[in-house]
């Protein structure tokens, strides 16, 4: 009887485990949303959305991204790239575990990085263009399992990106 009971309990866990749904805040605006928008956006004094998009595509290539998708009429470009994700600390940890006889530990191996650029005319007379960039990454370990899925929320990343974008706009304008 006990066995049947524990089996049923296990089954209940398995089945309810199936039903973990979408987090409540997944589609809700939070105070952080506004903060993220601020450091992910820069405004350029130009009325040519096309020029900015061309510069952005050029910049993505400078940064080693391939362009996956674009819809210029909506001011949208998506670039992705794959890079190594091996971290020294994690490798050291795995070596220590192996030496202690703990077997082979999976460590992060590769990552896919995605950059999405969206432009839109801004201001009363539409004499400015807002550029918003967002980054995401997915990390796989040596066993091919996904270990990390996240958006990149480090403001310094965005700061460096926009410094480079200003440079790209300048380079495009001077046809370099």
């Amino acid at each position: 009887m006990k066995k049947v009971f524990s089996l049923l309990l296990l089954l209940t866990f398995l089945l309810t485990g199936c039903q973990t749904g979408i987090p409540k805040e997944a589609l809700e605006l939070t105070p952080q949303s506004l903060e993220m928008r601020q450091f992910q956006t820069r405004y350029f004094d130009t009325d040519s959305e096309q020029t900015l998009l061309v510069s952005s595509a050029g910049l993505l290539q400078d940064l080693g991204f391939n362009i996956d998708e674009s819809e210029t009429e909506l001011g949208f470009i998506l670039g992705t790239k794959e890079r190594g994700a091996i971290r020294a600390a994690q490798v050291t940890g795995a070596v220590v575990v192996a030496l202690l006889g703990g077997g082979i530990m999976a460590i992060d191996k590769t990552q896919k990085m995605r950059a999405c650029i969206v432009t839109h005319p801004y201001g009363e007379s539409k004499d400015k263009i807002a550029v918003r960039v967002t980054f995401q990454r997915i990390v796989w370990n040596t066993q091919g399992q996904i270990t990390t899925r996240e958006c990149i929320d480090n403001p310094e990343v965005y700061q460096e990106f926009f410094t480079k974008l200003s440079k790209a706009v300048f380079l495009e304008a001077n046809q370099i």
Binding site: M1, K3, V4, L7, L8, L11, L14, L15, C18, G21, I22, P23, K24, A26, L27, E28, L29, S33, L34, M36, R37, Q40, E69, E71, E73, L74, G75, F76, L78, R114, C116, V118, H120, R132, T134, F135, Q136, R137, I138, R149, E150, C151
Partner: protein, 142 residues
């Protein structure tokens, strides 16, 4: 009571029925267990505007505010698909089409990890955010 082989066997069968009872490939492919009318009503709202490009651009901006990265966008088709990665993966497709002479119908469908989202509240939150960004109210449609 001692657990007999037959008892265990019955348990295993019941478990299999429960688990496989989740869905066949056909049911998964066509999401046959869901009602088309009900889903449309949960996933759609009408907005008092006919500006197609502006609506799509606002959809894109709202999705970015919600932490999504845009995967695809098509002005002619009127669709935007985006993914949010925040430990979980949430994928959304938003489509727009004219509704009558003065309105635009916006529809969104979500996939959380490997499951469809039928819960009305996330959609409600999305349309509330979109409405704020459009400076328009989202009307429920029948």
């Amino acid at each position: 009571m001692k657990l007999t082989t037959t008892g265990l066997f019955c348990c295993a069968i019941t478990a299999m029925i429960f688990i496989s009872g989740c869905a066949t490939t056909q049911q998964r492919l066509l999401d046959s267990d869901s009602s088309q009318v009900q889903i449309r009503s949960i996933q759609s709202r009408a907005f008092d505007t006919t500006a197609r490009e502006k609506t799509l651009r606002t959809v894109i901006a709202t999705l970015q505010d919600l932490g999504f990265v845009i995967d695809e966008a098509d002005l002619m088709l009127g669709t935007v698909t985006a993914t949010k990665l925040n430990r979980y993966a949430l994928r959304i497709t938003v489509s727009i089409r004219p509704r009558g002479e003065t309105q635009t119908l916006v529809r969104a469908n979500c996939q959380y990890e490997d499951k469809p989202v039928y819960d009305p509240s996330p959609y409600q939150q999305f349309f509330t955010s979109l409405g704020k960004a459009m400076f328009l109210a989202a009307h429920q449609v029948d």
